[in-house]
């Protein structure tokens, strides 16, 4: 399979949350990178994972499938999944695929971090 055209940076956001900055393309080839980032992000007492999509450049339906499996994994760990930085286009894709039923979408990092740490 081709190499993943994506980078993910993990950083803390308060005691209970971690942010994963997604930069590049979210496709089937990003699975390993995304799961590694999640493992790194969920160390310790983290109760919420925040995905930052400000630098998301491309996503196909396999990428959306990855988010579904990530969400299931997060729910199993009794954690919460939040996002911010989605453009109108990607918000619309969350609506079509009905991911917005289960993943909280926020307008800014501040708002997402506040929601994650108050839960």
């Amino acid at each position: 399979m081709p190499e993943a055209q994506v980078k993910m940076n993990v950083r803390g956001a308060g005691e209970k949350a971690s942010i994963i900055d997604v930069q590049g393309e979210l496709t089937a080839f990003a699975e390993g990178v995304l799961m590694d980032a999640y493992n790194q992000a969920s160390d310790g007492q983290v109760r919420a994972i925040i995905l930052n999509f400000e630098d998301l450049e491309y996503m196909n339906s396999s990428g959306i499938g990855l988010l579904v499996t990530l969400l299931i994994r997060i729910n199993r760990e009794k954690q919460q999944l939040l996002t911010y930085g989605l453009s109108d286009h990607y918000r619309s894709i969350f609506q079509i695929t009905r991911l917005d039923d289960a993943i909280a979408i926020h307008d800014s990092e501040e708002e997402a971090v506040r929601a994650a740490n108050s839960a």
Partner: protein
Amino acid sequence: MTEQTPQDETREEEKQRREPRDAAYWAHYAETLKVTGVAEGATNINVEGRRAVGPLQGFGKLWQKTYRVSLEDAEVTPVEVIKTWKENYKDFWPEGNLFYAPLAGITPGEVALISGSLPGGVKLSTGVMVLYADDESFSLMTPEGHPFSGWITFSSFEEEGATVAQAQVLMRANDPLYELGLRMGGHKMEDEMWRKTLENLAAHFGVHEPVETNLLCVDPRLQWSHYRNIWHNAGIRSALYSITAPLRWRRNRVRQD
């Protein structure tokens, strides 16, 4: 006609810069599905006005099923495979299931009708929406009432120098009845259907390789909060539609007289 100012041009350039590369590949959001043109023989009783549903809205266990075949012996690129698959989608399906392709073909947002059968020989009228389509993959998403809630992604890519064709289903049974049906032979029927589809696709390119199957239960829990999905069950509604056919015929005769 209005002339464009430099500011307008800058705004347009900015918009184009921000327009993601995948924008043309995705269906646009619509609250409910709309079927444009019903092909002869197709029945549009379980699709029009229904919502598309993903793996999160279903009832049963969440499965990721992957079926793939290597097209190593064929001189064919992933783009050619997907082009062929889109153009001949219905011809690769095994006998007994009918896919009424949308007039515009496999393009984002289009809705296709399906006539199939469930375990026990129950006839089923349902459909799918084209969720995503690019040169190397396309995905179909199911409506409420379909046996499963989720999507199927058909893709082709190069692996170790060979072109591979793959179908990957991410699904939950839509309601408790379908979950029972899947456990009592439905999964086997479905696996056989996609294996046969890939065999037919490979045969089109002169390849007769075995289809690899990988079945992964991503979430074994049942989503009891979605048990009411049974209200839209297309199997039940299709059966009722068939049973009441004589009544509709009689009513139409009365109207004509």
